[in-house]
Symmetry: C2
Subunit: 354 residues, 2 copies
């Protein structure tokens, strides 16, 4: 029996995608070998690669002004590559210290250029995201780095700032919401939540930005080289790209980004409604305007209640509802591939349990 898997990532994938991959794993479409055994210069792999690139653009609605890069190393490597490539002499970068991820991005950037907190959520315990009026941009700011969704704290940047060129880490709500591309210089994220298995990072970067990036870096660290080589500068993470391509096709079959965005809102609304209608039994620590559509965090009256809740959920085949070890409590991650029936089962259980 298939589990209802609320893991925060890696996480649930569409069953169709897994079954297709299983069918093709040993012998790829009658070629006498697995796709995993083919050169990344083979026509078979190049078709997979280019289709995944094209679907990424189409589904996310990225204009032609953006190059799309398939990289490795997760968002974490981007924490280094962004300032290494973008920050020139005399420039600095603002960061939203909006939670665990935004803060890490800020710390890492400081090793490769001047970076400052344009807003800090520590005082609120990271239970809210800033509005544009809360963000302080300093002189010579090259970019403002935002984390669109903080996975651990369950917060979401609902309003995109417009006071500086934006760089966004969208790892935990990638391709689940439309974005105003004209404000962005670069968007990145790991694929392992909304788009596929671990091992692939997708970067959208504006072509005009690539003309001015730092060239005094090892080749792998240079965005311009990956763009010029169509993300085949070196051996790409073949399987993760192949699976992401299949997931993107699945998203297309669901109706594309607009349908996915609507479904994400419906899923999270269902759980927030149970929380809000529970007379305080369930408590959502996040301010209403900053609630994540991907990671719904909530507390019960006591840690004992939480432990009992988790145990009974497992007995009902609902897995991985424990909150991140750094914050405790409960967290239901409702990524793109989470079926509505899974969310309904959780909502129903929450009402019964209370």
């Amino acid at each position: 029996m298939r589990a209802i898997n609320f893991s925060a990532g890696p996480c649930t994938l569409p069953l169709d995608v897994l079954e297709e991959a299983q069918d093709e794993l040993v012998d790829y479409r009658g070629r006498g070998m697995s796709l995993l055994e083919m050169s990344h210069r083979s026509p078979e792999y190049e078709a997979v690669h280019n289709e995944a690139l094209d679907l990424s653009r189409e589904i996310f609605g990225a204009p032609d002004e953006f190059a799309i890069l398939f990289l490795q190393g997760g968002a974490s490597l981007q924490f280094g590559m962004v300032p290494l490539n973008l920050l020139g002499p005399g420039q600095q970068a603002g960061y939203l210290a909006s939670g665990a991820w935004g803060t890490k991005a800020l710390e890492d950037a400081g090793h490769h250029g001047k970076a400052y907190a344009a807003w800090d959520g520590a005082d609120s315990g990271y239970t809210t995201m800033p509005g544009p009026e809360d963000i302080e941009i300093r002189d010579n700011t090259r970019y403002l780095h935002v984390t669109s969704n903080e996975t651990i704290h369950g917060t979401r940047l609902s309003e995109w700032p417009n006071e500086a060129r934006l760089v966004a880490d969208m790892s935990s709500d990638y391709m689940s919401r439309a974005i105003p591309w004209d404000r962005f210089d670069l968007v990145y994220g790991g694929a392992q939540k909304n788009l596929g298995p671990a091992g692939l990072t997708i970067v959208f970067v504006r072509h005009s930005v690539l003309e001015e990036t730092n060239r005094d870096l090892a080749s792998y660290l240079r965005y311009d080289i990956h763009a010029a080589k169509n993300s085949l500068y070196n051996t790409p993470p073949v399987f993760a790209i192949y699976m992401t391509g299949k997931t993107l096709k699945w998203i297309q079959r669901q109706g594309g980004l607009a349908a996915i965005e609507k479904a994400a809102q419906a899923r999270s609304d269902l759980i927030y409604d149970v929380i809000d209608g529970s007379d305080g039994y369930y408590r959502g620590p996040v301010q209403p305007g900053s609630r994540s559509h991907m990671n719904v965090v909530f507390r019960l009256p006591s840690e004992e209640d939480e432990a009992r809740f988790l145990g009974e959920a497992v007995a009902r085949n609902m897995l991985n509802l424990r909150g991140h070890r750094s914050v405790g409590g409960l967290r239901a991650s409702l990524y793109n591939a989470m079926p509505m029936e899974g969310v309904e089962a959780l909502a129903s259980f929450m009402s019964t349990f209370r």
Copy 2:
């Protein structure tokens, strides 16, 4: 029918490994989900992760003085990370410019420190590797970087230098030969030739070296952080690690490193014997003492003959024998998972064709 796949990488994998992965892909051992859908902090994944780390140490015979890191970004990212981590002020690094890969490593290192060619194979057209007496080490050399096997040129470093601490890129003969660990500070390589699918880089680094590495880097670029976090600093490339673990177990079943090394020698000897016994019809450009056990490159009397050879090989189900586009000719890559029957089929065809 399964092809005989001489691809230079990604390349042939053990059929057992592919079939096991296929069986487990949709539902991992009755857990109701794929391993791809599990958190990298789950007990199931942690068992896979730690088993692959342990097998890497056991099979390659790495002493406890070495940490083992599972990273992403291929050898190419290591071309940057090695000098970023190891080169201190006033130090420089020697590189063997032994072919396409050694030369790239040298160029990339120059962006992050002082690096020089301790030997250059360009004059010989990269048809030979240096002996220890050919290598010139300058003052304040922190390490000597060697490429143990040049995939494109089909050369192999048969004698390990002992004039400086060694750093080796072993991507294309990884875990196919025993090495004198006492001379090494660091060994790295992509898994996608001898060990698994694309997407995983394995780094062996001496613990004493980690005490002195550069800390002024974004976290992902720091070896010491990956070592301290058991390669779970961020989401690892789950599937590539899982497949590599299975391949390492397969190597263990073959008899371990000694058996694998012997088999590699036997496979390549068979093809070199056909070349040497062909009265000059087949020509191996590589000097005998530098011949690769992994990538056997050879030429025919004319490019027309080579094209005909390739066509007839395909008709016999022998695929991917074309040499790298930068050098032309033919190349048979005979990595760990290539069965002896495949090599015998090629040897027999070469004799018949001639």
